[in-house]
Amino acid sequence: MGLVMAAISVSHLSKNYQTFQKDPGLVGSIKSLFSRKYETVKAVSDISFKINEGELVGFIGPNGAGKTTTLKCLSGLLYPTKGELSVLGFSPFKREKEFLKQISLVMGQKNQLWWDLPAVDTFLLNKEIYEVSDSDYKVTIDELSKLLDISEFIKIPVRKLSLGQRMKVELIAALIHRPKVLFLDEPTIGLDVVMQKNLREFIKEYNSRYKATIILTSHYMGDVEALCKRIIIIDHGKILFDGLLSDLVKKHAPYKLIKIIFKDFPNPQKLEGLGTVKHFEYPNLTLSVSAEKSNDSASFLLKNFSIEDIVIEDPQVEDVIRDVFTK
């Protein structure tokens, strides 16, 4: 390994929010004018992790798990209730100029572009804000627009762009200063499959070309599987797993799935003891068997049944993660 600088280090981070509840309807609204019940919501409680320079880490968890809150703390938007944060050696909430010039946060559901103006106007403004030289700007824009193929709609007012087009120009606007640390919150939300794939490839390319450290949150396991070696699973503000994606599968799902298509209806008694039946609807059967016995089971099946097709698969990461959450 050698000495690798941790680009991001988080120790014992907690963040609480104050919220109040309101009963529905006008009566509830009037009541809430006079007395309000405040509640403290622990969005993140006591989490710690380190991320090295150039790593691309997936941040996974259900809605409200605390992913976005953590990203907001890391990018200096939120004041942490407790804990120490360091990003590139800076303390994020101080929002020093040198820090801000090296990071970027992209939110899939929000936009930073000037709504009524073409994207290129926001690009130019960001160029000035981040003090990017004319030559660097030209190189970056040329490269990024080639990767994402945006040249045809760069001069159309943003409000007239489609969701996919807008996400592309949003990303470019966030990358004009070539941030060393990039926080991506649901970058592929609402995009079609082709566009999702495009964006994934782009993120991968950006990571390897500029050696950027990236944290990515996503609901789509496809994003995470395609991009991240390491994942951090978080739920109810706590870290449930931090490690390699392959280890997660080994550790939490030491089984494989055998998918069979029968030629003839099988004798159910013969199937007993082979493994757990996950799904059976003739002619399809899905069996879950322990990883080391998967080959034996498969050959047993082939010998004793009349089989059209058989495949051995790793369990879906999505299923594994669901297992982790329900434990």
Binding site: Y17, Q18, T68, K72, S75, G76, L77, L78, Y79, R95, K97, L100, K101, I103, S104, L105, M107, Q109, K110, Q112, W114, D116, L117, D121, T122, L124, L125, N126, E128, I129, Y130, E131, P157
Partner: protein, 264 residues
């Protein structure tokens, strides 16, 4: 500096995007001006004076507040409350840019556009109505007038910020803003010259900052204020600038700590 110029340019582009909206809004300004103008035109007969104001003086005052409003009271930052509430503030907090300077640059862009148009409109008005208008030539008054305008611009900007910062604590930022707008139209002297009020009330007005938005600069232009009064006025309003700056700084820092970047 270049970034702030770019912000102003974008603001102009944004303003002219909705052409109909923009021209209707200018039309509204002209209507408002004409209403006030003809009201006072008929209240004071051309050879008499009321409350120490002659016909031409009051008409200069009314036309003057109109121009001055477009300089002082025009703003693009009236929606800071919403920007905070909807979490759009995050866009600025994430960038190496001073949010206050950003807003001020937008405001200046807006004011520049407004000045150009109101001068155009007034020019037409002068050709059509040929109103009696006092042209101030005394350099002292002119310099003091310019300084007072700068102070007024900053004061109004600060009021705007403070009203917007309510957004950190409450989603209801428009009601206070409406009340403020009404207060301004009265206390700043946009409807009538404040010195026609009873002396004790007027004395009270001199201490509050709203007076310095329109009334004070305009009175200097008209040359109706004594040297000492100008100096005290400038000092009081400058003190207000410092005081308000301190308040804004404190409120901003407190607000950021409770800011939740909602919806972002």
């Amino acid at each position: 500096m270049k970034k702030y110029y770019q912000i102003m340019k974008n603001t102009w582009d944004e303003m002219v995007t909705y052409r109909l909206n923009f021209s209707m809004w200018r039309f509204r300004n002209v209507l408002q001006l004409l209403t006030m103008y003809f009201l006072w035109y008929s209240v004071i007969p051309s050879n008499k004076s009321i409350f120490g104001y002659s016909h031409s003086l009051i008409l200069t005052y009314i036309l003057g507040t109109s121009i001055l409003s477009s300089v002082v009271l025009s703003s693009r930052s009236y929606d800071i409350g919403d920007v905070i509430n909807k979490g759009e503030l995050s866009n600025f907090l994430l960038k190496p840019i001073n949010f206050f300077y950003y807003l001020f640059a937008k405001d200046i862009g807006d004011k520049a556009m407004n000045i150009v148009f109101s001068f155009g409109e007034l020019f037409l008005l002068f050709i059509l109505l040929r109103p009696p208008f006092l042209i101030q030539t005394n350099p002292f008054y002119l310099v003091a007038f310019l300084i007072a305008i700068c102070i007024a611009v900053i004061l109004f900007f600060f009021f705007n910020l403070l009203l917007g910062f309510i957004g950190f604590w409450s989603p209801e930022t428009w009601a206070p803003r409406f009340i403020f707008t009404i207060l301004i139209s009265f206390f700043a002297g946009g409807l009538f010259p404040l010195d026609i009020l009873p002396a004790p009330i007027f004395a009270l007005f001199k201490v509050i900052p709203l007076t310095y938005l329109l009334y004070f600069p305009l009175k200097i232009y008209l040359g109706q204020v004594q040297f000492v009064e100008i100096i005290t006025g400038l000092i009081i309003s400058t003190l207000w600038i410092f005081g308000m700056y301190k308040i804004i700084e404190a409120v901003w820092l407190k607000g950021l700590k409770v800011y939740t970047a909602q919806g972002m």
